[in-house]
Amino acid sequence: MVVMKMKFPFEKRVKLAQGLWLLSWVATMAGAVTFTLGCVLKTELRRRAEVMDNTEIHVVPNTLMIVGVASLGINYFAGRICQDALDAGRFPRWKNFLKPYFAVSCFFTVLMLLSVIMSYAMKGNLESSLKIGLKNGIRFYKDTDTPGRCFQKQTMDRLQMQFQCCGNTDYTDWFEVQWISNRYLDFSCKDVKDRIKSNVDGRYLVDGVPFSCCNPSSPRPCIQYQLTNNSAHYNYEHQTEELNIFVVGCREALVSYYMGLMNTIGVGVLSVFLIQASVLVSLRYLQTAMEAVAGQENTEIETEGYLLEKGVKETIMEYLDPVFKFLMLNKVEEGEATDS
């Protein structure tokens, strides 16, 4: 049972070949664009690598780059094939090449679609990676004298100022961590000693945040210490004060930034996917239509083109048989049959 049969008179075949040649060039450029988008996404992810715990999310830009490079090759061959298609003498040399070519092309085209789906599916992964990374960033904020952690303060400050966020979930995360190093605490002072004694772990905790949490849009000079103490500042009420420091948490800010970026890239990649799929479908029709012409005296007769010779299931089994044979599954079954 043939899938999606179509009749192709000579003029239609010629038009199909010409249109396909043009489309393959468009698809080549689209493949280059996909590669560039993958590079852009990877660069953006690497910029904030210090506040990410793992690099699992990098599978999305890596896939995009691989697919971009592969589609350059796929479309180059598509262009060559359709150039030879109308010449009955030159077309038969592609005969053996086409079956594996279609298998590989379909695989990479499906991979393109998968990468878009992955970018949405890995949101949870990104969020948990950022949660751990930001928690460490806040914890090691004060360790500017420890090698390996000395840049955490600068990273956190820059991040909070650029993304206009404060803390991990929100600004209260800074209250639970000692972010002022002991080197700058006067241990002879009574206030300092009391505060350290009142804490179970002996940490100096304050209801204050670093200066990078301050919001420039606030009408009053920034209040960063004694945030929850209304009486410490004139005309101040921390429950109603919205503009003093940034209220958004950095995890939320970063996740929405990256999701926005991946949405934009996803739209582009989906359109590239449609172009690529139409190239493959047109090439398949051209191939089957030209195969029917082979061996005929009159090359200008009307022929039929189709997508699949047999049904979908049978075609899949036909492609997977060599794979099974390679895995020697058939041999094991033969062995069992002789035993019984």
Binding site: D145, I180, S212, C214, P216, N235
Partner: protein
């Protein structure tokens, strides 16, 4: 004696026309580049208009924008002329236009040069404008409740964060102005009242700076209040502490930023000017060669091309005479040396011409 005379064969003339056609199209692209440079500069200046006291320096990007647009048109026309110059019959169409075109383009290249030179000379005006603009921005920093000034705090904070600078000349400028609004000062507190009384003008001055002056490179949490009081903070010496606040003044930072941009733009415009001059020279040679071919009558013959037909002095003299005579048309003549025929003068007898009459 012609200036820069070169002999062209037919093949050389055709090649010159083709090369010039290509160069003119490249010049259209450089015109677009000039336009976009002007646009970029305008956007950069507009971004920081709140810290500039006057917007007069906008004439530089405006000049670049107009020059770019005019360059596109001129070179597009030049391309058309060169394209038609291969065929002598088509060249006749442009015969009357081409000399005024060359003169206009010559004066236009002056504009491009002036545009390039202003980019380098703008520094003084910019310095003054930035100084006054920043002083006002700092003075009105606290006025977030007044219309027209309510965004100055935000602009100043974002400027200091982005350019990593503090104050006008340095962070001490903040000590001389009141940057905390009276709305947030507790007038019942004795410390506040004392500080206000101790100042002649009744301003609340302190040795503190806004949070945006804090440096991200500092290893310790930012010290922004009581900056000059060593005993107020543990293990702190404000004379040796370099990393706590930004050391550079915003005046210097912005000046460097804009001077850098303008110098790069000026360099690119100079290169474009040289290119335009080259194209103009080529078009002049093509014009003179084509006109000489037309004078000779044979389109395949060799012809001479030059920059000026006579030497520079003679050309200047003849042009000056033309301008003088143009002016004479509208003048009432009282010069006694000029011979104006009047009715009292003896008429010059006309020559008798004998016409043989055929009989």
């Amino acid at each position: 004696m012609a200036v820069g005379k070169v002999t062209f064969t037919k093949a050389e003339r055709d090649k010159l026309a083709q090369v010039l056609w290509l160069l003119n199209w490249i010049s259209v692209v450089t015109g677009v580049i000039l336009f976009s440079l002007g646009l970029f500069l305008k956007v950069e200046i507009q971004k920081r208009r709140e810290v500039m006291s006057d917007q007069d320096i906008l004439y530089v990007p405006h000049m670049l924008i107009t020059t770019g647009l005019v360059a596109c048109c001129i070179n597009f026309l030049g391309g058309k002329i060169c394209y038609d110059s291969v065929d002598t019959t088509k060249f006749l169409r442009w015969k009357l236009v081409i000399l005024p075109y060359i003169v206009c383009t010559f004066f236009f290249t002056f504009c491009v040069l002036v545009g390039a030179l202003t980019c380098y000379s703008i520094r003084n005006q910019l310095e003054e404008s930035l100084f006054l603009g920043l002083r006002n921005a700092m003075r009105y920093y606290k006025d977030t409740d007044m219309a027209g000034r309510c965004f100055l705090k935000r602009s100043m904070d974002l400027l200091q964060i982005q350019f990593q600078c503090c104050g006008n000349g340095g962070y001490r400028d903040w000590f001389h102005i009141q940057w905390i609004s009276n709305r947030y000062l507790d007038m019942t507190s004795s410390t506040v009242v004392d500080r206000l009384r101790s100042n002649v003008k009744g301003k609340y001055l302190m040795d503190g700076v806004p949070f945006s002056c804090c440096s991200t490179f500092s290893p310790r949490p930012c010290i922004q209040l009581q900056v000059t009081n060593n005993s107020a903070h543990f293990n702190y010496n404000h004379q040796t502490e370099q990393l706590n606040l930004w050391r550079r003044g915003c005046h210097q930072a912005l000046l460097d930023h804009y001077t850098g941009i303008m110098q790069s733009i000026g360099l690119i415009v100079l290169v474009i000017w040289l290119f335009e001059l080259l194209v103009l020279t080529g078009v002049r040679y093509l014009q003179t060669a084509m006109e000489n071919v037309l004078l000779l009558g044979d389109p395949d013959s060799e012809s001479d091309g030059w920059i000026l037909e006579n030497s520079l002095a003679e050309t200047a003299r003849s042009n000056f005479n033309i301008i003088k005579n143009l002016g004479k048309c509208y003048q009432v003549d009282d010069d006694p040396n000029i011979n104006i025929p009047t009715a009292t003068e003896r008429e010059v007898p006309s020559r008798q011409v004998q016409i043989p009459v055929a009989s």
